[in-house]
Protein backbone atom coordinates (compact mmCIF):
# COMPACT_ATOMS: atom_id res chain seq x y z
CA UNK A 1 0.00 0.00 0.00
CA UNK A 2 1.13 3.55 -0.64
CA UNK A 3 0.59 4.72 2.91
CA UNK A 4 1.74 2.02 5.31
CA UNK A 5 0.02 1.80 8.64
CA UNK A 6 2.19 2.79 11.53
CA UNK A 7 1.08 0.71 14.46
CA UNK A 8 2.45 2.28 17.57
CA UNK A 9 -0.03 1.18 20.16
CA UNK A 10 1.08 0.45 23.67
CA UNK A 11 -0.73 -0.80 26.72
CA UNK A 12 -0.89 2.85 27.80
CA UNK A 13 -3.38 3.37 25.00
CA UNK A 14 -5.72 0.80 26.40
CA UNK A 15 -5.75 2.46 29.79
CA UNK A 16 -8.32 4.98 28.63
CA UNK A 17 -10.61 2.11 27.69
CA UNK A 18 -10.75 0.54 31.17
CA UNK A 19 -14.20 1.98 31.99
CA UNK A 20 -15.46 0.89 28.57
CA UNK A 21 -13.99 -2.61 28.98
CA UNK A 22 -15.78 -3.03 32.31
CA UNK A 23 -19.14 -2.12 30.78
CA UNK A 24 -18.47 -4.40 27.79
CA UNK A 25 -17.79 -7.22 30.24
CA UNK A 26 -21.11 -6.49 31.96
CA UNK A 27 -22.88 -6.66 28.59
CA UNK A 28 -21.31 -9.98 27.61
CA UNK A 29 -21.64 -11.57 31.07
CA UNK A 30 -25.31 -10.67 31.49
CA UNK A 31 -26.04 -11.85 27.96
CA UNK A 32 -24.24 -15.17 28.40
CA UNK A 33 -25.33 -15.91 31.96
CA UNK A 34 -28.91 -14.86 31.23
CA UNK A 35 -29.06 -17.29 28.32
CA UNK A 36 -27.37 -20.21 30.08
CA UNK A 37 -29.01 -20.18 33.51
CA UNK A 38 -32.68 -21.01 33.93
CA UNK A 39 -34.83 -18.09 35.09
CA UNK A 40 -34.99 -17.94 38.87
CA UNK A 41 -34.89 -15.22 41.54
CA UNK A 42 -31.29 -16.23 42.30
CA UNK A 43 -30.21 -15.77 38.70
CA UNK A 44 -31.94 -12.40 38.52
CA UNK A 45 -30.19 -11.28 41.69
CA UNK A 46 -26.83 -12.38 40.27
CA UNK A 47 -27.48 -10.46 37.04
CA UNK A 48 -28.38 -7.36 39.02
CA UNK A 49 -25.24 -7.68 41.15
CA UNK A 50 -23.06 -7.99 38.02
CA UNK A 51 -24.65 -4.85 36.56
CA UNK A 52 -24.50 -2.78 39.73
CA UNK A 53 -20.84 -3.57 40.41
CA UNK A 54 -19.95 -3.18 36.76
CA UNK A 55 -21.33 0.35 36.53
CA UNK A 56 -19.86 1.28 39.91
CA UNK A 57 -16.51 -0.07 38.71
CA UNK A 58 -16.73 1.92 35.49
CA UNK A 59 -17.53 5.12 37.40
CA UNK A 60 -14.68 4.58 39.86
CA UNK A 61 -12.24 3.69 37.08
CA UNK A 62 -13.18 6.81 35.12
CA UNK A 63 -12.79 9.00 38.19
CA UNK A 64 -9.41 7.45 39.05
CA UNK A 65 -8.19 8.24 35.56
CA UNK A 66 -9.03 11.96 35.77
CA UNK A 67 -6.59 14.78 35.95
CA UNK A 68 -4.19 13.36 33.39
CA UNK A 69 -5.66 14.33 30.04
CA UNK A 70 -4.38 11.73 27.63
CA UNK A 71 -5.20 10.99 24.08
CA UNK A 72 -4.66 7.52 22.73
CA UNK A 73 -5.05 5.41 19.61
CA UNK A 74 -3.32 8.01 17.42
CA UNK A 75 -5.64 10.71 18.69
CA UNK A 76 -8.88 8.79 18.07
CA UNK A 77 -9.85 8.71 21.70
CA UNK A 78 -9.21 10.78 24.76
CA UNK A 79 -10.04 10.52 28.41
CA UNK A 80 -10.08 14.24 29.09
CA UNK A 81 -12.19 15.67 31.88
CA UNK A 82 -15.17 16.15 29.60
CA UNK A 83 -15.03 12.46 28.74
CA UNK A 84 -14.77 11.47 32.41
CA UNK A 85 -17.67 13.73 33.32
CA UNK A 86 -19.95 12.36 30.60
CA UNK A 87 -18.90 8.76 31.24
CA UNK A 88 -19.80 9.18 34.90
CA UNK A 89 -23.19 10.67 34.00
CA UNK A 90 -24.00 7.93 31.48
CA UNK A 91 -22.83 5.08 33.72
CA UNK A 92 -24.67 6.60 36.68
CA UNK A 93 -27.90 6.78 34.69
CA UNK A 94 -27.48 3.11 33.75
CA UNK A 95 -26.84 2.27 37.41
CA UNK A 96 -29.97 4.12 38.54
CA UNK A 97 -31.95 2.41 35.79
CA UNK A 98 -30.80 -0.97 37.12
CA UNK A 99 -32.19 -0.02 40.54
CA UNK A 100 -35.63 0.77 39.15
CA UNK A 101 -35.60 -2.21 36.73
CA UNK A 102 -34.42 -5.09 38.89
CA UNK A 103 -37.86 -5.85 40.26
CA UNK A 104 -40.09 -4.35 37.58
CA UNK A 105 -38.71 -6.15 34.50
CA UNK A 106 -39.06 -9.74 35.85
CA UNK A 107 -42.47 -8.83 37.30
CA UNK A 108 -43.63 -7.92 33.78
CA UNK A 109 -42.32 -11.20 32.34
CA UNK A 110 -39.47 -9.69 30.37
CA UNK A 111 -36.08 -11.45 30.11
CA UNK A 112 -33.72 -9.75 32.54
CA UNK A 113 -30.46 -11.03 31.01
CA UNK A 114 -31.11 -9.50 27.61
CA UNK A 115 -32.45 -6.38 29.24
CA UNK A 116 -29.28 -5.74 31.24
CA UNK A 117 -27.13 -6.66 28.28
CA UNK A 118 -28.82 -4.14 25.97
CA UNK A 119 -28.65 -1.55 28.73
CA UNK A 120 -24.91 -2.13 29.02
CA UNK A 121 -24.37 -1.99 25.25
CA UNK A 122 -26.25 1.29 25.05
CA UNK A 123 -24.22 2.66 27.95
CA UNK A 124 -21.03 1.50 26.24
CA UNK A 125 -22.04 3.35 23.07
CA UNK A 126 -22.59 6.53 25.04
CA UNK A 127 -19.25 6.16 26.80
CA UNK A 128 -17.50 5.66 23.47
CA UNK A 129 -19.00 8.89 22.15
CA UNK A 130 -17.93 10.69 25.32
CA UNK A 131 -14.30 9.71 24.85
CA UNK A 132 -14.16 9.84 21.04
CA UNK A 133 -12.20 12.52 19.20
CA UNK A 134 -12.95 11.20 15.74
CA UNK A 135 -16.05 11.37 13.55
CA UNK A 136 -15.95 7.63 12.86
CA UNK A 137 -15.84 6.73 16.55
CA UNK A 138 -18.63 9.18 17.34
CA UNK A 139 -20.78 7.63 14.62
CA UNK A 140 -20.14 4.08 15.85
CA UNK A 141 -20.81 5.08 19.46
CA UNK A 142 -24.07 6.88 18.68
CA UNK A 143 -25.31 3.94 16.69
CA UNK A 144 -24.37 1.38 19.34
CA UNK A 145 -26.21 3.50 21.86
CA UNK A 146 -29.37 3.97 19.81
CA UNK A 147 -29.59 0.50 18.25
CA UNK A 148 -29.68 -1.04 21.72
CA UNK A 149 -32.31 1.43 22.82
CA UNK A 150 -34.58 0.58 19.85
CA UNK A 151 -34.74 -3.00 21.08
CA UNK A 152 -35.28 -1.88 24.67
CA UNK A 153 -38.12 0.39 23.55
CA UNK A 154 -39.83 -2.62 21.95
CA UNK A 155 -39.23 -4.76 25.01
CA UNK A 156 -42.89 -4.98 25.99
CA UNK A 157 -43.52 -6.88 22.81
CA UNK A 158 -46.96 -8.04 23.84
CA UNK A 159 -48.17 -4.45 23.79
CA UNK A 160 -48.67 -3.04 20.32
CA UNK A 161 -47.82 0.52 21.38
CA UNK A 162 -44.42 -0.63 22.53
CA UNK A 163 -43.46 -2.04 19.13
CA UNK A 164 -45.03 0.83 17.24
CA UNK A 165 -43.27 3.42 19.37
CA UNK A 166 -39.99 1.58 18.90
CA UNK A 167 -40.52 1.33 15.15
CA UNK A 168 -41.23 5.06 14.87
CA UNK A 169 -38.16 5.77 16.93
CA UNK A 170 -36.15 3.40 14.77
CA UNK A 171 -37.27 4.84 11.42
CA UNK A 172 -36.82 8.48 12.39
CA UNK A 173 -33.56 7.85 14.17
CA UNK A 174 -32.11 5.93 11.21
CA UNK A 175 -33.23 8.76 8.97
CA UNK A 176 -31.37 11.13 11.28
CA UNK A 177 -28.34 8.88 11.18
CA UNK A 178 -28.25 9.09 7.41
CA UNK A 179 -28.40 12.89 7.59
CA UNK A 180 -25.76 12.96 10.30
CA UNK A 181 -23.23 10.86 8.39
CA UNK A 182 -23.89 12.83 5.22
CA UNK A 183 -22.88 15.85 7.26
CA UNK A 184 -19.83 13.97 8.52
CA UNK A 185 -18.93 13.01 4.94
CA UNK A 186 -19.06 16.64 3.86
CA UNK A 187 -17.06 17.74 6.88
CA UNK A 188 -14.46 15.14 5.95
CA UNK A 189 -14.56 16.16 2.31
CA UNK A 190 -14.12 19.86 2.99
CA UNK A 191 -11.48 19.63 5.71
CA UNK A 192 -9.81 16.38 4.69
CA UNK A 193 -9.79 15.06 8.24
CA UNK A 194 -11.96 12.93 10.48
CA UNK A 195 -10.10 13.79 13.65
CA UNK A 196 -11.95 16.59 15.41
CA UNK A 197 -8.83 18.44 16.52
CA UNK A 198 -7.47 18.36 12.95
CA UNK A 199 -10.81 19.58 11.63
CA UNK A 200 -10.76 22.45 14.08
CA UNK A 201 -7.16 23.38 13.20
CA UNK A 202 -7.89 23.37 9.47
CA UNK A 203 -11.12 25.30 9.79
CA UNK A 204 -9.30 27.96 11.80
CA UNK A 205 -7.03 28.65 8.82
CA UNK A 206 -9.90 29.14 6.37
CA UNK A 207 -10.51 32.69 5.22
CA UNK A 208 -14.04 32.04 3.98
CA UNK A 209 -15.88 30.22 6.71
CA UNK A 210 -19.23 30.65 5.00
CA UNK A 211 -18.58 28.51 1.94
CA UNK A 212 -21.83 26.74 0.99
CA UNK A 213 -20.23 23.30 1.37
CA UNK A 214 -19.14 24.12 4.90
CA UNK A 215 -22.56 25.48 5.81
CA UNK A 216 -24.21 22.43 4.30
CA UNK A 217 -21.99 20.18 6.43
CA UNK A 218 -22.79 22.15 9.59
CA UNK A 219 -26.50 22.18 8.79
CA UNK A 220 -26.64 18.42 8.19
CA UNK A 221 -24.70 17.76 11.41
CA UNK A 222 -27.01 19.97 13.45
CA UNK A 223 -30.15 18.38 12.01
CA UNK A 224 -28.81 14.86 12.60
CA UNK A 225 -27.69 15.57 16.15
CA UNK A 226 -30.88 17.54 16.83
CA UNK A 227 -32.90 14.43 16.00
CA UNK A 228 -30.85 12.36 18.41
CA UNK A 229 -31.20 14.91 21.20
CA UNK A 230 -34.96 15.29 20.53
CA UNK A 231 -34.81 19.00 19.71
CA UNK A 232 -37.88 20.59 18.10
CA UNK A 233 -38.68 20.33 15.13
CA UNK A 234 -36.99 16.92 15.14
CA UNK A 235 -38.80 15.55 18.18
CA UNK A 236 -41.71 13.70 16.51
CA UNK A 237 -40.55 10.28 17.66
CA UNK A 238 -40.12 11.21 21.32
CA UNK A 239 -43.63 11.11 22.81
CA UNK A 240 -44.65 7.86 21.11
CA UNK A 241 -41.41 6.04 21.79
CA UNK A 242 -41.34 7.22 25.41
CA UNK A 243 -44.93 6.30 26.06
CA UNK A 244 -44.75 2.92 24.36
CA UNK A 245 -41.61 1.70 26.10
CA UNK A 246 -41.73 0.00 29.52
CA UNK A 247 -41.34 2.76 32.13
CA UNK A 248 -37.82 1.83 33.38
CA UNK A 249 -36.69 1.84 29.74
CA UNK A 250 -38.30 5.25 29.27
CA UNK A 251 -36.33 6.48 32.26
CA UNK A 252 -33.10 5.32 30.64
CA UNK A 253 -34.12 6.47 27.14
CA UNK A 254 -34.91 9.95 28.32
CA UNK A 255 -31.43 10.33 29.79
CA UNK A 256 -28.65 8.18 28.32
CA UNK A 257 -29.30 8.73 24.57
CA UNK A 258 -29.82 12.42 25.27
CA UNK A 259 -26.54 12.69 27.17
CA UNK A 260 -24.91 10.71 24.37
CA UNK A 261 -26.34 13.12 21.82
CA UNK A 262 -25.03 16.05 23.85
CA UNK A 263 -21.64 14.38 24.12
CA UNK A 264 -21.63 14.15 20.32
CA UNK A 265 -22.82 17.75 19.99
CA UNK A 266 -20.07 18.98 22.29
CA UNK A 267 -17.43 16.94 20.50
CA UNK A 268 -18.54 17.72 16.95
CA UNK A 269 -19.82 21.28 17.15
CA UNK A 270 -17.56 22.64 19.88
CA UNK A 271 -14.37 20.65 19.53
CA UNK A 272 -14.55 20.09 15.77
CA UNK A 273 -16.55 22.98 14.34
CA UNK A 274 -15.59 25.44 17.09
CA UNK A 275 -14.14 27.90 14.53
CA UNK A 276 -17.55 27.97 12.81
CA UNK A 277 -19.18 29.14 16.03
CA UNK A 278 -20.67 32.25 14.44
CA UNK A 279 -22.37 30.12 11.84
CA UNK A 280 -23.96 27.47 14.06
CA UNK A 281 -24.83 29.46 17.17
CA UNK A 282 -27.83 31.23 15.52
CA UNK A 283 -29.23 27.85 14.48
CA UNK A 284 -28.78 26.48 18.00
CA UNK A 285 -30.58 29.52 19.44
CA UNK A 286 -33.55 28.97 17.11
CA UNK A 287 -33.65 25.27 18.01
CA UNK A 288 -33.42 26.00 21.74
CA UNK A 289 -36.29 28.49 21.74
CA UNK A 290 -38.52 26.19 19.65
CA UNK A 291 -37.65 23.21 21.82
CA UNK A 292 -38.31 24.94 25.13
CA UNK A 293 -41.55 26.51 23.93
CA UNK A 294 -43.09 23.44 22.34
CA UNK A 295 -41.94 21.03 25.06
CA UNK A 296 -43.39 23.12 27.85
CA UNK A 297 -46.60 24.20 26.13
CA UNK A 298 -47.61 20.76 24.89
CA UNK A 299 -46.77 19.21 28.26
CA UNK A 300 -49.52 21.34 29.81
CA UNK A 301 -52.18 19.56 27.78
CA UNK A 302 -51.15 16.03 28.83
CA UNK A 303 -53.25 14.00 31.25
CA UNK A 304 -50.89 11.05 31.10
CA UNK A 305 -47.93 11.66 33.38
CA UNK A 306 -45.61 9.49 31.26
CA UNK A 307 -46.40 11.53 28.17
CA UNK A 308 -46.15 14.74 30.15
CA UNK A 309 -42.65 13.74 31.27
CA UNK A 310 -41.80 12.93 27.63
CA UNK A 311 -42.66 16.48 26.58
CA UNK A 312 -40.92 17.88 29.63
CA UNK A 313 -37.77 15.99 28.60
CA UNK A 314 -37.99 17.79 25.24
CA UNK A 315 -38.18 21.07 27.14
CA UNK A 316 -35.06 20.15 29.10
CA UNK A 317 -33.20 19.57 25.83
CA UNK A 318 -34.09 23.17 25.06
CA UNK A 319 -32.53 24.43 28.31
CA UNK A 320 -29.35 22.49 27.55
CA UNK A 321 -29.21 24.03 24.07
CA UNK A 322 -29.35 27.49 25.66
CA UNK A 323 -26.13 26.68 27.47
CA UNK A 324 -24.61 25.51 24.20
CA UNK A 325 -25.67 28.70 22.44
CA UNK A 326 -23.67 30.69 24.99
CA UNK A 327 -20.44 29.04 23.84
CA UNK A 328 -17.79 31.53 22.79
CA UNK A 329 -14.42 29.87 22.51
CA UNK A 330 -12.48 26.85 23.63
CA UNK A 331 -10.52 27.53 26.80
CA UNK A 332 -12.19 30.90 27.19
CA UNK A 333 -13.11 30.12 30.78
CA UNK A 334 -16.77 30.94 30.17
CA UNK A 335 -19.56 29.05 31.88
CA UNK A 336 -21.36 27.79 28.78
CA UNK A 337 -20.06 24.24 28.36
CA UNK A 338 -19.72 23.60 32.12
CA UNK A 339 -23.37 24.62 32.48
CA UNK A 340 -24.42 22.16 29.76
CA UNK A 341 -22.42 19.38 31.41
CA UNK A 342 -23.83 20.18 34.83
CA UNK A 343 -27.36 20.24 33.43
CA UNK A 344 -26.88 16.78 31.96
CA UNK A 345 -25.66 15.57 35.35
CA UNK A 346 -28.61 17.06 37.22
CA UNK A 347 -31.14 15.94 34.62
CA UNK A 348 -30.03 12.31 34.95
CA UNK A 349 -30.92 12.09 38.64
CA UNK A 350 -34.19 14.00 38.67
CA UNK A 351 -35.64 12.55 35.48
CA UNK A 352 -34.83 8.91 36.23
CA UNK A 353 -36.21 9.57 39.69
CA UNK A 354 -39.54 10.84 38.36
CA UNK A 355 -39.88 7.93 35.94
CA UNK A 356 -38.81 5.62 38.76
CA UNK A 357 -41.76 6.63 40.94
CA UNK A 358 -43.99 6.12 37.90
CA UNK A 359 -42.59 2.59 37.47
CA UNK A 360 -43.13 1.97 41.19
CA UNK A 361 -46.75 3.00 40.79
CA UNK A 362 -47.22 0.68 37.81
CA UNK A 363 -45.61 -2.17 39.70
CA UNK A 364 -48.27 -1.62 42.36
CA UNK A 365 -51.13 -2.05 39.96
CA UNK A 366 -51.73 1.59 39.02
CA UNK A 367 -51.77 3.38 35.68
CA UNK A 368 -49.79 6.40 34.54
CA UNK A 369 -52.47 9.07 34.33
CA UNK A 370 -52.61 11.97 36.72
CA UNK A 371 -55.66 10.43 38.41
CA UNK A 372 -53.53 7.48 39.47
CA UNK A 373 -51.51 9.89 41.60
CA UNK A 374 -54.59 11.05 43.52
CA UNK A 375 -54.00 10.86 47.23
CA UNK A 376 -50.68 9.07 46.93
CA UNK A 377 -49.43 11.08 49.89
CA UNK A 378 -51.88 9.18 52.08
CA UNK A 379 -51.48 5.70 50.63
CA UNK A 380 -47.71 5.75 50.09
CA UNK A 381 -46.15 8.83 51.62
CA UNK A 382 -42.43 8.05 50.93
CA UNK A 383 -42.98 7.62 47.21
CA UNK A 384 -45.22 10.67 47.06
CA UNK A 385 -42.58 12.72 48.85
CA UNK A 386 -39.87 11.45 46.49
CA UNK A 387 -42.00 12.27 43.43
CA UNK A 388 -42.72 15.76 44.78
CA UNK A 389 -39.00 16.18 45.35
CA UNK A 390 -38.10 15.20 41.77
CA UNK A 391 -40.85 17.36 40.30
CA UNK A 392 -39.79 20.39 42.35
CA UNK A 393 -36.25 19.80 41.14
CA UNK A 394 -37.39 19.54 37.51
CA UNK A 395 -39.27 22.81 37.96
CA UNK A 396 -36.13 24.41 39.38
CA UNK A 397 -37.07 25.14 42.98
CA UNK A 398 -34.10 26.11 45.17
CA UNK A 399 -32.08 24.60 46.78
CA UNK A 400 -32.56 21.41 44.77
CA UNK A 401 -30.25 20.16 42.04
CA UNK A 402 -32.51 21.30 39.21
CA UNK A 403 -32.41 24.88 40.45
CA UNK A 404 -28.62 25.02 40.30
CA UNK A 405 -28.61 23.45 36.85
CA UNK A 406 -30.97 26.11 35.50
CA UNK A 407 -29.14 28.83 37.40
CA UNK A 408 -25.83 28.00 35.70
CA UNK A 409 -27.50 27.87 32.29
CA UNK A 410 -29.10 31.27 32.84
CA UNK A 411 -25.81 32.67 34.11
CA UNK A 412 -24.01 31.42 31.01
CA UNK A 413 -26.65 32.95 28.73
CA UNK A 414 -26.44 36.33 30.43
CA UNK A 415 -22.65 36.22 30.39
CA UNK A 416 -22.73 35.62 26.63
CA UNK A 417 -25.05 38.59 26.15
CA UNK A 418 -28.26 36.64 25.52
CA UNK A 419 -30.28 38.16 28.34
CA UNK A 420 -33.52 37.69 26.39
CA UNK A 421 -32.77 33.96 26.12
CA UNK A 422 -32.30 33.79 29.90
CA UNK A 423 -35.67 35.52 30.30
CA UNK A 424 -37.27 32.91 28.04
CA UNK A 425 -35.80 30.14 30.20
CA UNK A 426 -37.21 31.71 33.36
CA UNK A 427 -40.65 32.34 31.85
CA UNK A 428 -41.00 28.84 30.46
CA UNK A 429 -39.79 27.34 33.74
CA UNK A 430 -42.66 29.18 35.35
CA UNK A 431 -44.99 27.58 32.79
CA UNK A 432 -43.51 24.18 33.59
CA UNK A 433 -44.34 24.68 37.26
CA UNK A 434 -48.01 24.43 36.28
CA UNK A 435 -47.86 20.89 34.93
CA UNK A 436 -45.28 19.58 37.39
CA UNK A 437 -47.07 20.93 40.42
CA UNK A 438 -50.42 19.63 39.17
CA UNK A 439 -49.10 16.14 39.89
CA UNK A 440 -47.93 17.24 43.34
CA UNK A 441 -51.36 18.74 43.99
CA UNK A 442 -53.05 15.50 42.95
CA UNK A 443 -50.82 13.53 45.32
CA UNK A 444 -51.37 15.77 48.32
CA UNK A 445 -54.89 17.13 47.83
CA UNK A 446 -56.58 14.45 45.70
CA UNK A 447 -58.88 11.83 47.19
CA UNK A 448 -57.10 8.52 47.68
CA UNK A 449 -58.42 6.16 45.00
CA UNK A 450 -57.68 2.76 46.48
CA UNK A 451 -54.41 1.69 48.07
CA UNK A 452 -51.63 0.41 45.78
CA UNK A 453 -51.45 -3.38 45.64
CA UNK A 454 -48.40 -4.67 47.52
CA UNK A 455 -45.23 -5.80 45.71
CA UNK A 456 -41.63 -6.53 46.68
CA UNK A 457 -39.70 -3.32 46.17
CA UNK A 458 -36.97 -3.01 48.78
CA UNK A 459 -34.18 -2.73 46.19
CA UNK A 460 -36.32 -0.27 44.28
CA UNK A 461 -36.63 1.86 47.39
CA UNK A 462 -32.84 1.97 47.79
CA UNK A 463 -32.54 3.41 44.26
CA UNK A 464 -35.23 6.02 44.84
CA UNK A 465 -33.62 6.98 48.13
CA UNK A 466 -30.23 7.37 46.46
CA UNK A 467 -31.76 9.64 43.83
CA UNK A 468 -33.56 11.77 46.42
CA UNK A 469 -30.29 12.20 48.33
CA UNK A 470 -28.42 13.08 45.13
CA UNK A 471 -31.00 15.66 44.11
CA UNK A 472 -30.85 17.21 47.56
CA UNK A 473 -27.10 17.12 48.15
CA UNK A 474 -25.48 17.67 44.76
CA UNK A 475 -27.36 20.94 44.48
CA UNK A 476 -25.88 22.38 47.65
CA UNK A 477 -22.52 20.69 47.03
CA UNK A 478 -22.42 21.61 43.35
CA UNK A 479 -18.89 23.06 43.71
CA UNK A 480 -16.77 19.93 43.11
CA UNK A 481 -19.02 18.71 40.30
CA UNK A 482 -18.88 22.07 38.60
CA UNK A 483 -15.12 22.23 39.07
CA UNK A 484 -14.75 18.97 37.16
CA UNK A 485 -17.08 20.33 34.48
CA UNK A 486 -15.02 23.52 34.22
CA UNK A 487 -11.92 21.51 33.28
CA UNK A 488 -13.67 20.24 30.16
CA UNK A 489 -11.42 21.89 27.63
CA UNK A 490 -8.09 20.95 29.20
CA UNK A 491 -7.20 18.28 26.68
CA UNK A 492 -8.71 19.95 23.63
Amino acid sequence: MDNPVAVALTLEDFKILIPHAIVLAVALLTLGYGAIAAPSPGRNAALTVISVFGYLGAIVAALLLTGQPRTAFSGMGALDDMAVFLIVVIAASALLTVFISAQTIPAWDMPLGEYYSLLAFSTLGGMLVASAVDLVMIFVGIELSSLSVFVLAAFAKRRRESIEGALKYFLLSSFATAILIYGMAWTYGVTGATNLNDISLRLATYQDRTAPTLLLAALLLIVGLGFKAAAVPFHMWTPDAYQGAPTPVTAFMSVAPKVTAFAAILRVLVQGLGPLREQWVPLVIVLSVLTMALGNLVAIAQRDVKRMLAYSSIAHTGYMLVGLAAFRQIGGGDESIPSVLFYNFAYAFMNIGAFGVLAWLQLHGKGTTIDDFNGLAVTAWPQAAAMAFFLFSLTGVPPLLGFYAKYFIILAAIEAGYTWLAVVVVLLSAVSAYYYLRVVAAMYFGDPAGAPTPARTRFFGVGLGAMVLSVALFGILSGPVLDLARQWYLAL
Binding site: P4, A35, T210, Q279
Partner: protein, 118 residues
Protein backbone atom coordinates in the same frame (compact mmCIF):
# COMPACT_ATOMS: atom_id res chain seq x y z
CA UNK B 1 -23.29 34.48 4.78
CA UNK B 2 -27.03 34.99 4.23
CA UNK B 3 -26.39 34.68 0.49
CA UNK B 4 -24.86 31.29 0.96
CA UNK B 5 -27.77 30.03 3.01
CA UNK B 6 -29.93 31.33 0.17
CA UNK B 7 -28.04 29.10 -2.24
CA UNK B 8 -28.80 26.06 -0.09
CA UNK B 9 -32.40 27.17 0.22
CA UNK B 10 -32.71 27.59 -3.54
CA UNK B 11 -31.23 24.12 -4.03
CA UNK B 12 -33.70 22.57 -1.59
CA UNK B 13 -36.62 24.39 -3.21
CA UNK B 14 -35.51 23.40 -6.70
CA UNK B 15 -35.22 19.75 -5.71
CA UNK B 16 -38.59 19.72 -3.98
CA UNK B 17 -40.25 21.63 -6.82
CA UNK B 18 -38.78 19.34 -9.44
CA UNK B 19 -39.94 16.25 -7.58
CA UNK B 20 -43.44 17.65 -7.17
CA UNK B 21 -43.51 18.65 -10.86
CA UNK B 22 -42.55 15.17 -12.06
CA UNK B 23 -45.06 13.46 -9.79
CA UNK B 24 -47.91 15.76 -10.86
CA UNK B 25 -47.08 15.38 -14.58
CA UNK B 26 -47.26 11.63 -14.05
CA UNK B 27 -50.63 11.85 -12.35
CA UNK B 28 -52.05 14.16 -15.08
CA UNK B 29 -50.71 12.30 -18.11
CA UNK B 30 -50.93 8.60 -17.30
CA UNK B 31 -54.19 6.76 -17.95
CA UNK B 32 -55.72 5.09 -14.93
CA UNK B 33 -57.95 2.13 -15.87
CA UNK B 34 -57.55 -0.52 -13.20
CA UNK B 35 -58.80 -4.02 -13.85
CA UNK B 36 -58.66 -6.83 -11.27
CA UNK B 37 -55.90 -8.49 -13.26
CA UNK B 38 -53.80 -5.35 -13.38
CA UNK B 39 -54.01 -4.95 -9.62
CA UNK B 40 -52.61 -8.43 -9.04
CA UNK B 41 -49.00 -8.72 -8.04
CA UNK B 42 -46.81 -9.59 -11.01
CA UNK B 43 -45.58 -13.17 -10.96
CA UNK B 44 -43.70 -13.42 -14.27
CA UNK B 45 -46.96 -13.68 -16.20
CA UNK B 46 -48.14 -16.74 -14.32
CA UNK B 47 -51.63 -16.24 -12.87
CA UNK B 48 -51.62 -15.90 -9.09
CA UNK B 49 -53.17 -18.84 -7.33
CA UNK B 50 -53.06 -17.55 -3.79
CA UNK B 51 -52.55 -14.20 -2.07
CA UNK B 52 -48.93 -13.23 -1.42
CA UNK B 53 -49.55 -12.83 2.26
CA UNK B 54 -48.34 -15.60 4.51
CA UNK B 55 -46.21 -17.38 2.00
CA UNK B 56 -42.92 -17.09 3.89
CA UNK B 57 -42.52 -18.47 7.34
CA UNK B 58 -41.15 -15.95 9.85
CA UNK B 59 -38.46 -18.51 10.74
CA UNK B 60 -36.91 -17.78 7.37
CA UNK B 61 -36.58 -14.10 8.26
CA UNK B 62 -34.73 -14.85 11.48
CA UNK B 63 -32.14 -16.92 9.64
CA UNK B 64 -31.84 -14.20 7.00
CA UNK B 65 -31.35 -11.51 9.64
CA UNK B 66 -28.63 -13.54 11.36
CA UNK B 67 -26.99 -14.18 8.00
CA UNK B 68 -26.89 -10.48 7.16
CA UNK B 69 -25.17 -9.65 10.43
CA UNK B 70 -22.54 -12.37 10.41
CA UNK B 71 -21.95 -11.91 6.69
CA UNK B 72 -21.29 -8.19 6.94
CA UNK B 73 -19.01 -8.48 9.97
CA UNK B 74 -16.58 -10.33 7.70
CA UNK B 75 -15.91 -7.00 6.00
CA UNK B 76 -13.56 -6.13 8.86
CA UNK B 77 -11.43 -9.16 8.06
CA UNK B 78 -10.45 -7.78 4.64
CA UNK B 79 -8.55 -4.65 5.71
CA UNK B 80 -6.94 -6.71 8.47
CA UNK B 81 -5.86 -9.38 5.99
CA UNK B 82 -4.41 -6.75 3.64
CA UNK B 83 -2.38 -5.12 6.40
CA UNK B 84 -1.58 -8.35 8.23
CA UNK B 85 2.19 -8.04 7.71
CA UNK B 86 2.41 -4.62 9.29
CA UNK B 87 -0.04 -5.34 12.10
CA UNK B 88 1.65 -8.56 13.18
CA UNK B 89 0.84 -10.21 16.49
CA UNK B 90 -1.02 -7.17 17.76
CA UNK B 91 -3.44 -7.29 14.86
CA UNK B 92 -3.94 -11.00 15.38
CA UNK B 93 -4.85 -10.52 19.05
CA UNK B 94 -7.25 -7.72 18.14
CA UNK B 95 -8.92 -9.86 15.51
CA UNK B 96 -9.21 -12.82 17.88
CA UNK B 97 -10.96 -10.53 20.38
CA UNK B 98 -13.31 -9.36 17.65
CA UNK B 99 -14.13 -12.92 16.61
CA UNK B 100 -14.63 -13.98 20.24
CA UNK B 101 -17.23 -11.26 20.70
CA UNK B 102 -18.95 -12.42 17.51
CA UNK B 103 -18.82 -16.01 18.79
CA UNK B 104 -20.55 -14.98 22.01
CA UNK B 105 -23.33 -13.53 19.87
CA UNK B 106 -23.41 -16.72 17.81
CA UNK B 107 -23.56 -18.90 20.93
CA UNK B 108 -26.38 -16.75 22.24
CA UNK B 109 -28.38 -17.12 19.02
CA UNK B 110 -27.77 -20.86 19.06
CA UNK B 111 -28.71 -21.23 22.72
CA UNK B 112 -31.92 -19.25 22.18
CA UNK B 113 -32.91 -21.58 19.36
CA UNK B 114 -32.71 -19.00 16.58
CA UNK B 115 -30.87 -21.51 14.38
CA UNK B 116 -33.42 -24.32 14.66
CA UNK B 117 -34.82 -25.01 11.21
CA UNK B 118 -38.43 -25.80 11.98
Amino acid sequence: MVDNYAIILIMILTVLGFGALLLSIGVLVRPYKPTPRKLQSYESGVPNIEPLKGRYTPRFYVIAILFVIFDIEAIFLFPWAVAFDQLGLFGLVEMVLFIVILLIGYAYAWRRGALEWV
